[in-house]
């Protein structure tokens, strides 16, 4: 290890770590504005493919449980508890889609059946293993929002 790498390690690595932690908005710090949530939760552009995967995954978004989506017509069993998401990007802009995914209760009514995917405002007796956790991570929210943006 020469002096250059030592300095790099000392100076830059702590900055990067601190930077990453500061950039991620915690669930209780999300700023809900009149036009939705306009600031990315992570500052990292969402990945459409990863978003599609999280959307489908029954352990993550499980969005197909309640929403039909023609873009995923190869997957069986689309529910209809919520409206079809075909063309949803034409109905809402990115900030509104982000707000819907983070906490649909902010957009619809507190009675909505749609879970808040990045919210700690949850039901009682949350199973121990998930206490204090959100359904999706901040980056997964960004990924899902990027994917929703492709549904035109």
């Amino acid at each position: 290890m020469n002096w250059r790498t030592t300095i790099t390690a000392l100076v830059f690595v702590p900055c990067l770590v601190a930077g990453a932690a500061a950039a991620e908005v915690a669930p209780n710090d999300v700023a809900f504005g009149d036009d939705g949530v306009s600031v990315s939760l992570t500052g990292v552009q969402g990945d459409v493919e990863a978003g599609a995967a999280a959307f489908k995954d029954r352990g993550l978004g499980n969005c197909l449980a309640c929403h039909a989506n023609k873009d995923m017509s190869k997957d069986l069993f689309h529910g209809n508890v919520g409206p079809s998401l075909d063309g949803v990007a034409e109905r809402y802009d990115e900030a509104m889609l982000r707000e819907i995914v983070i906490n649909a209760k902010q957009v619809f009514t507190s009675e909505t059946v749609m879970p808040g995917f990045y919210s700690l405002d949850v039901g009682k007796d949350v199973v121990k293993a998930r206490e204090g956790q959100t359904i999706l991570s901040a980056q997964q929210v960004e990924d899902v929002v990027a994917y929703l943006g492709t549904l035109k």
Partner: protein, 283 residues
């Protein structure tokens, strides 16, 4: 505020649009078991959120529905036969079987289960068929209480409830404190649980008739329990309750806990007027 109004108006319009001609309605069919017509639609009691209460049978696929129509085809009837054998089996220090005191169940138990849960003055709590069986086992037979879902509890319960096949569900909430347990059960029904933040009503009231994945959401009626589930066999009511709560990603209460006894009382009332269908067949 405008944002909220606009979006909820839009969502409402979408929902309404989606409902037209969607695969959302329960079937228009009549459940006849071995020639006996069941009441699978009934006028709801006063204070009920729906106008009509509907049996879960109306929400199932044709093949599943067909299995319940003929008791020779109904896989749950095997369990009922096992329950009948238990009814006639001597157990415990008193050397008695259920039949020693209650004789022919088709006479002594006819219509009885349609009025459960009842008020139990001894424990000052609601009592269901499972707990009444345990009461007779411990107090009248000198036998041990069954553990939840074990030792024939489901089979014997199915046998007793099957003696009320076709009889409409009707609770007497004026017994003891049953009304206050009904209130408590109503609270449980509308309380959101778990990380998914859903209540019973989110699925069985607000989304009744819709599909969640492949499942056609019914009113969550209890008139067919214990029910024969095609993927897991004979299933007790409290097991079903716990499964539905678990699916919201919540810790679930113990079987026969005060919380679930209150819930059973309230949910049974929500099915007032439906025929007892035990053992119903569901997927």
């Amino acid at each position: 505020m405008t944002k909220r109004l606009m979006t909820s108006g839009l969502a409402l319009a979408m929902l309404l649009a989606g409902m037209v001609g969607s695969r959302a309605d329960p079937v228009d069919d009549t459940l006849v078991i071995d020639g006996q017509e069941m009441i699978s639609r009934a006028k709801a009691p006063e204070g009920h959120p729906f106008d009509e209460v509907l049996s879960g049978w109306l929400f199932r696929e044709g093949e599943t529905r067909a299995l319940e129509v003929d008791s020779f085809e109904n896989p749950g009837m095997l369990a009922v036969e096992e329950g009948e054998a238990i009814w006639n089996t001597v157990e415990g220090t008193a050397g008695k079987s259920c039949a020693s005191c209650h004789d022919d169940a088709s006479v002594s138990m006819k219509g009885i289960a349609a009025n459960y849960p009842k008020w139990d003055a001894d424990s000052k709590k609601p009592i269901n068929i499972e707990l009444q069986i345990n009461k007779c086992r411990t107090e009248n037979m000198g036998a041990e209480a069954y553990e939840f879902d074990k030792g024939g509890q489901r089979e014997l319960t199915a046998f007793i409830k099957n003696q009320s096949l076709g009889v409409p569900v009707q609770l007497d909430l004026t017994q003891g404190d049953l009304q206050s347990w009904w209130e408590k059960g109503k609270d449980v029904y509308y309380t959101r649980t778990g990380q998914l933040n859903l209540s019973c009503a989110s699925c069985h009231e607000a989304s009744m008739g819709k599909y969640i994945r492949a499942d056609h959401l019914s009113q969550g009626q209890v008139n067919g329990f214990p029910t024969y589930r095609l993927n897991s066999g004979l299933t007790s009511l409290h097991n079903r309750f716990r499964g539905c709560i678990r699916d919201t990603r919540a810790e679930f209460p113990k079987a026969f806990s005060d919380e679930l006894m209150a819930l059973e009382t309230y949910v049974t009332w929500r099915g007032t007027g439906l025929s007892v269908e035990t053992p119903s067949v569901r997927q």
